[in-house]
Symmetry: C2
Subunit: 133 residues, 2 copies
Amino acid sequence: MAGETSRPAADATTDPELACPISPVVDIVFSRWTSPILWSLHAFGRQRFVELERRIEKITPKVLTQRLRQLERDGLVVRTYHPEVPPRVEYEISELGRTLSPLFAQIAEWAAANLDHVERARRHYDEAGAPRG
Amino acid sequence: MAGETSRPAADATTDPELACPISPVVDIVFSRWTSPILWSLHAFGRQRFVELERRIEKITPKVLTQRLRQLERDGLVVRTYHPEVPPRVEYEISELGRTLSPLFAQIAEWAAANLDHVERARRHYDEAGAPRG
DNA sequence: CAGCATCCTTGGGGATACTG
DNA sequence: CAGTATCCCCAAGGATGCTG
């Protein structure tokens, strides 16, 4: 997208429902548990179900399955079923999913640069910043 | 956003609970309703409460207040109270919040480039892609 | 106008148990 | 191992009414 500062896409100003062009991406990529899953797949490569389950502690198999299905449906993750005994299933980032890498990198960068600012803002707010009005 | 790419904040790599360094950012910036709010503020500048409420249709005043408070606490949004009759309150993006601009731009770019891929993946999955296993 | 208080509903996820 | 099936719970969010 070239000159995006001039006009924020017709939809955004027209359609009140969406209100912002990044919401769909947020729903797809940054909904609950998806970031850890994508990150894990991105950082450690192809993995089996249990590996993911162990890596992302506190996630339940049910929810992990749900999220993986969603990501598979959205084309961000590829599921490979090996009909063996015991069964083996592997998950990996898809081509499309890989296009998210620079995004993730930039977010990580922002985190490294600004997360402590947020922390300080919070402390300041909690100490004396309560809004009057 | 200068250097600091070296260390992704000790928490993220140490604490298995988080599992990924971008999760904190997701919680702060991409939690429910925050993207439309930040986008609206970013795209249309300083606005009053009602303006935001109208712009982001379907949000209730209660939730809008909650989210605005959260964003204010996190230092991403600045609230200005004008003690007049009737009361007037204005919200705007903070300096810190403005550092998110390139991030938002990149997400919008990804959306423009890849959202239809996701759509197609979904259709394909719904038609014949149901996982066997 | 810009909210806060209160009540109420919903569905996302947790826990547990069970199969191919 | 890689899930599905069930039951259950609670907290986020909606609806409504009231103030400074």
